[in-house]
Amino acid sequence: MVMQTAYLFPGTVAENVAYGPRQRGQRLLAEQTEALLQRVGLSGYQERNANNLSGGEAQRVSIARTLANAPEILLLDEPTSALDEDSARGVEDLVLEIIRERRMTCVIVTHNNAQARRIAHRTMIIQDGKLVAIGPTNEVLRDD
């Protein structure tokens, strides 16, 4: 799961990426950490202090940390809403690449219809806690 705000744990980027596997008693090898960071465009960031990253970088670390758990389904809760436009677009592109590469199911929550059109195959609209529409994105968001 990737949250709206990238909450990084105190410590280095590498320690953050290794957090999930460590909870299951597994050790993430240095090469695996580098591969994950390279995938999110942060190669060589292992020893950086997690508190000194920009919003976009922090969100990329957050995605790498989630991928380190090898999830079958990726849950994204407004992953770009706290980022500036450039960073948001970069993270969005990254998410799209990862989904296509890994053929991974992804559920993304967004208030941005344009973003939903760019990312999602199917869209579900929830209004006041009730499901009001569901179907292929190009049909559900046709009138917007």
Partner: protein
């Protein structure tokens, strides 16, 4: 009980006469006020009556303490523990059953320490010794419990995102809040650690002062005071730890969801100007 009442009888009669004189003086002042159109007759009469009744009641309780059995002493300490739990429980209204949590924590800290004090014969089981020393232990356990609860609550509610991130990454609930457990227990111990460090240099506590006034050996009074403060530290540590661990257990649902949140502002509260 009868002996107690008989012994009290003569002094009570003298005391009531002296109280009557004090009341008469107060009534004289009320009449004087009335001459200047200051009407406090009713309020003064009620206050005097309440004051007299309350102080006689306190006197009776103290008389029972001095002559009562160990069972009465235990009941007094239990009542004190309950009252302390009521006070400490106000620190974490968001937690389910904060009163029970506080009671367990304070009772655990104070009962272990009082038991050790009795077992090592540091204090005797005489009620006149047990209750004052016990009340000091309970009061400090209450403060430690309240401080631990307050710190833990504040840390959790200000790190919700980080804790939920840890949970989402598969961490055990206890692991996600481990740093906050440590800081809460430490925060509850810190005032007592400082108290122990500054003992004798910065302050001479009441127990030692009282023993010196009553003619005890200064060295023994010092050692006894050290024992009491050390026991206060032990009681505080147990109370703070138990309170934090019980609070941690109640901070998550059975599905490992963080349920401890900052209290919603009271929407019916009167807005402050």
């Amino acid at each position: 009980m009868i002996e107690l009442l008989v012994s009290l009888d003569r002094n009570v009669a003298v005391g009531m006469a002296q109280a009557a004189a004090a009341i008469a003086l107060c009534l004289g002042v009320v009449l004087l006020c009335r001459r200047f159109a200051v009407h406090v007759e009713r309020e003064t009469a009620v206050s005097l009556a309440r004051g007299l009744v309350q102080m006689v009641a306190v006197g009776l309780v103290l008389a029972l303490l001095l002559h009562g059995s160990l069972l009465i002493g235990a009941l007094v300490l239990l009542t004190m523990t309950f009252a302390a739990a009521v006070t400490a429980s106000r620190r974490a209204p968001e937690i389910k059953n904060p009163l029970v949590l506080s009671f367990y924590a304070i009772a655990a800290g104070s009962s272990v320490v009082i038991a050790v004090l009795l077992a090592t014969q540091t204090v005797t089981s005489e009620i006149v010794v047990l209750v004052p020393v016990g009340s000091m232990i309970i009061a400090n356990a209450m403060n430690a419990c309240a401080q631990a609860m307050e710190r833990f609550r504040a840390d959790i509610t200000s790190h919700v995102g980080l804790i939920e991130t840890g949970l989402a990454l598969g961490a055990d609930p206890a692991a996600t809040v481990a740093p906050y457990v440590q800081s809460a227990v430490y925060a509850s111990l810190l005032p007592r650690l400082d108290m122990l460090k500054s003992l004798g240099f910065v302050w001479i506590p009441g127990v030692m002062a009282g023993m010196l006034v009553s003619g005890a050996s200064p060295v023994y009074a010092g050692i006894f005071q050290f024992i009491v403060v050390a026991m206060i530290l032990a009681a505080s540590g147990i109370a703070g730890l138990v309170a934090t661990l019980l609070m941690r257990a109640r901070a998550f649902s059975s599905a490992a969801q963080l349920t401890l949140r900052a209290a919603e502002p009271d929407k019916f509260a009167t807005p402050q100007p």
